[in-house]
């Protein structure tokens, strides 16, 4: 199971549930693995890693500038105290990926909404999301 396979399977599942989804969304010199539009219209960014949660967190910190909520997605594992503390520190959530068509994404730690700062990063992410949706990304 590669990260790309995880991302594609998760995107397909969200799409079947009629969420608007885009993968590989460029944002602030990075690329967000998956972005989808939540029921209320806010954008949810998800960064996938099979195991390396520190790297996932590092990349996700930038996503906080543009998304309404940010998650990292890992293969199921024990949630260490260090991981919990790091997630809480930044308000980033955690979902586990199960290779299961029924429900591949299961939330383990909920994400907080980042406090709004500058508005342009949110506009940039919205534009990039819409563009990727149009491209079918």
């Amino acid at each position: 199971m590669t990260e790309d396979q995880m991302v594609n399977a998760a995107a397909g599942w969200l799409h079947r549930r009629e969420f608007r989804v885009a993968i590989g969304v460029p944002f602030m010199s990075q690329c967000i693995d998956l972005v989808y539009e939540a029921d209320g219209g806010g954008l949810i960014a998800v960064e996938f890693k099979r195991h390396d949660w520190r790297r996932a967190l590092q990349q996700s910190r930038t996503h906080l500038l543009g998304a309404n909520r940010v998650y990292i997605c890992l293969l199921p594992r024990e949630v260490s105290a260090a991981l919990t503390a790091a997630l809480n520190e930044h308000g980033i959530g955690l979902v586990f990926y199960y290779p299961d068509d029924v429900q591949p994404l299961v939330e383990r730690v909920s994400a907080e909404s980042p406090s709004p700062s500058l508005s342009f990063p949110r506009l940039w992410l919205r534009d990039a999301f819409e563009a990727r949706c149009l491209e079918g990304g």
């Binding site: 790309d4 460029p26 602030m28 990075q30 700062s117 508005s119």
Partner: protein, 450 residues
Amino acid sequence: MAASNLPVHILRYGIHGEQRYFSELADCYDGIAINGNMLAHTPAALARFVGVRVVDRPFVIDPLTHAFQHDPQRLRRAYQGTLGGEGTALKSSVARMSTRFGEPVQSKAGREALLPEDFADGDLRRDFCHRVIEFQLQTMEEAAADGDYIQYLRYAGIQTMKPAVVIAPYFYMISNTLDHWLDLNIAFISDAVSYDSGLPVYAQLVIHPDILLRQDMSGRLITSYGSARCAGICLWIDELDEHSADAELLRRMAGLIEGLAASGRPVHNVYGGYLSTVLTKFGRLSGLCHGLEYGESRPVLPVGGGVPMARYYFPPLHKRIRYSEVVQILAAKGWNRDASEFHANVCDCETCHEVISGNVENFAMFGGSRAVTFQRAGQTITLNYPLPETRDRCLRHYLHCKRKEFRELQASTKEEVIARLRTGGQEYRSVLGLDAVAFVDAWVDVLDSL
């Protein structure tokens, strides 16, 4: 400080598209460095640039002779013929340089690596050295003479387009090859001085940082270059990044500069950042060179080239950082609401005032980019390339900051500089992480040791 034939703050010419910054921001630098491969490739464009656009700035040409000592494949480029054939050919700029330099370079370029024994014949070595000097002296003048603008130059009273100094041929040394190249490098200095070109001869000392950690080797360099007959020394420590180098390495770098300068010769750092700027006041460095927004550190390989990426120069840390990191800082510090807070805490240069224009949301204009998606090794990769206008703003901001750093330094004591560095390190460690600001302690160590 030893009197120098080179100015303190030198900008390295990177690509022709940057020419306008040299003329429009002429008060942000003192001199220009031009790489030999660039000169060989487009002599007329450079002659026009030097002759017409920035006539009042001294320039120096780096002959890049070290290019010929490495794996010769690095000097070749892949090509695809019109009839479907493919292969590699010597890069045209290298081919032109090698033609000008003559033997032993010409017959080996792109085929075999140049070795110290290739210069065993003293006459051949001297002739080579003289041609390298002539390349620096004549290439621009010849190109100017071929162009219509020679009339303009004469009208403007410009009789010569010679560099401020000439650089003797040089080769890169690592700790294991110092014994092989050192005597030859010193011999080239003597040959260059004996040639009597009418211009001061500078040595270019190019070393791997490992040499700094070997006291015996640094000592040999100080003795050898200290007794050489050159008028000055340009120092290039391979890929030494002042923001990430170990404190001990930086102290050794400052020590080498002290040792070389003790002979009374000016020493310039060929690729340096703010630490080097500080060493021009509190150490014995006579000057430094960097590119337009990049090039404060440079690996010896690849020779020349590289696509610069836009980043925002963050003045409190004297460092280019990712745009997203600046936005994170603005959000974390609450400087995203009031433009005056932005200018007080981040930057108050002309470019920032013009861009921000009373609204911090306009900081977006330093980050505009275009996403390009492509496939690499079966994976989809998306890179964000800065828009031309983004790069333009970042570059102008960078040069204004550099000018301010020099000016501010003139009015500062060492203690004030150290205090400002420490404040910056403390202020941003919680946002950027300790690794990103740990250089401050290393720099303070260096300054304390002076």
